[in-house]
Structure formats: structure tokens, C-alpha cells
Symmetry: C3
Subunit: 128 residues, 3 copies
């Protein structure tokens, strides 16, 4: 098992890696649309979704992979009905013709208190 | 990575496949107990759980697999205490002696607004 | 696919195995910090988190693995802000330098009604 870390995506607090790789599979830890340096969450949903994909792209690159290797995305939103339409637009722009499996649920909290994060992604990729 | 699609299970709205296959593993997107044609959710919990398994069976068949290949099921319910007993009966009938790993949580929403869906499954299968 | 069962961790009610193994991967079913014999949840957060890791260690041992094989942990808490600090302390003590991918969300219920369970873990390990 190999730990993936890059300064081009936000670090986690505590002993949590950005991702790990084992047996050709990449597991990305809870991914937020925070700025890699200042750690702020963008004020608008589109900005947050775009930063989310920028962070994911950076982490995958550090694992010698890209968005075309993503096989599964678990999406958690604080307000699904409100924030899904904008997320889906950015998803389509970023993934293009690539079609990972996905599911989306709403949760009351996912660990960025006081920051109003809208989205958390849990991503699995396969490099083979 | 291969995208799995079958007319025998409900399609997703937007660019979401029913499932993908990579490296012998099958990842099924958010699975609902909706009718493949009319997309309605059955009125009773048993009917919805049975349709859920019918949809899963159809998707796995399109990936050259069946229920005996399922290794992990993540279950999301809108009302766990109310709807789990009926779900568990159908689970036992459908899986028989097969024993996938599973977990179940309750969520306030999982994306079928106004339809009163009780269940969402996230399924991983291994064909080898 | 192989079913993992050990008397050193609490059993599930119904037809749910403690874990399954397929293709070198281990999928642990919903893991609680309950006592293996009496099935009680410890009264304090630290005790519950320690029992959670004791149960996980026992299940992994029954699959010829240990904590160093864990690649991904999905964490569900009933009250994330209240119960995460204590959980994180035990996590660091138990995993030491090992760094699995992880995400944490809050859920209103995860199936141990009337027992006030604080934590549910969903664990994936890779033995290769």
C-alpha cells in the first residue's frame, strides 16, 4: 500500500492521507472543494464543484492517474435538491464522455463545521 | 473500464451508467426499486424491495454476473426502523445462502424527490 | 468469495457475515463497538472506539490480515462534532504510522436503535 500526497490539493487535518494505492486501485479520502493553500471553500456552488475536480485531478496525477481512471464516485451533499443541478453541470464538463458509477446521498454533516461545504466526494479509481 | 447498460433496469437521468466493470469488479450506480419502463416506485415496501433485486439482477446479467457475485452492499434507507424488516425478508429470499458484506444507514434524502423511495443500494460484485 | 466469521467479534443479526474476502480484498460489514459476548455498547466514546478496533482486529485476524492491510475506512457518526475528537485519538493510537484513506459523515440512524451507538465503520482491506 502506497500513500499519495500532493501540495496541489488541500491536506487533511490529522493522520489522513489524500489517497492510498493498493493492487492498482486508488482510494481517495474525503474530498472537499477547498482551496489547496488557504483551505477556504468557494462561496458559490459552481466554484466549489470546480475546485473539487481540480483537487481530484491533482491527487490522481500524484498517483499517475487521471479522471479517465475513475470507476466509482460516492457523493455526499448537505442539500441535495439545492446543490445537485450545479454539481451535475460541472461533472459533465469535467468527465466528458467518461462514465463512472455514482450514487448521491444527503447528510446533515460531513466534517467541515462552520465552513458551509456543500460537497464531499469519495472516489475510487483503477489504474490496473 | 466498461460501461454496463440494460433496458431491463431503469436508466439514470444524466450521464450516469447503471454500472461499470474494471479489473473483474463491477460497481453498480445508485440502485432504486423503480419500474424499468414507467420509473414508478412501488407503493409498498415489499414491492419496492423486490423491484430493487429485479433491477440488480438485470444489471448484473448485463455484466455476465449474478447475485452470487455480490460481495458488498451499502444500503441507504429514508426510515431505517420502519422499512428494514421488510427489506431483510426480501434480502433473505433473494440471496438465499449467499452472504455479502453489508451496512445500512439512514439518510434524509437520496435523490428521488417527491417519489418516496424507501431504499437506495450501492453494490459491488466480483466476477474475477 | 469466502465468508469470514469469528466469535471474537460481535455477530450480526440475520444473514449478515462479519466480513467477506474475494480476490485478495476483504470487505467488513457494518462494524460497531459492541462487546463480542454481551453485545453492549460501552458508555463512553473512548471505550466504544477501542472496542471497535478490537472487533476489527479480530475480524481481520480471522481473514489472515491485520490493521496494516486496511486501505479505506468509511466512518459514520451519529454526532460528528461531539464524537470525532475522541475517535481520532484512538484511531492514531491503533493505526500508528499506517495511513488508510478515510471519510466521515453524520447519519441520523444506522441500525442500533435504543443503544446509542456513536460509531459505525465500513472497512476495506487488501491482503494481495
Amino acid at each position: 500500500m502506497r500513500t499519495i500526497q500532493t501540495p496541489d490539493a488541500p491536506p487533511h487535518t490529522g493522520p489522513v492521507p489524500q489517497a492510498v494505492e493498493a493492487g492498482g486501485w486508488i482510494f481517495v479520502s474525503a474530498l472537499f472543494g477547498a482551496d489547496p493553500q488557504g483551505h477556504a471553500i468557494p462561496e458559490d456552488a459552481r466554484g466549489e464543484a470546480e475546485q473539487l475536480f481540480a483537487n481530484l485531478t491533482a491527487i490522481l496525477a500524484a498517483a499517475d492517474a487521471d479522471l479517465s481512471h475513475v470507476v466509482r464516485v460516492g457523493i455526499v451533499m448537505r442539500n441535495l435538491q439545492r446543490d445537485r443541478p450545479e454539481f451535475n453541470k460541472v461533472w459533465a464538463e469535467q468527465f466528458g464522455d467518461h462514465r463512472p458509477a455514482r450514487s448521491a446521498i444527503e447528510a446533515t454533516d460531513f466534517g467541515r463545521a462552520g465552513e458551509n461545504a456543500r460537497y464531499l466526494l469519495e472516489v475510487t479509481a483503477y489504474r490496473g
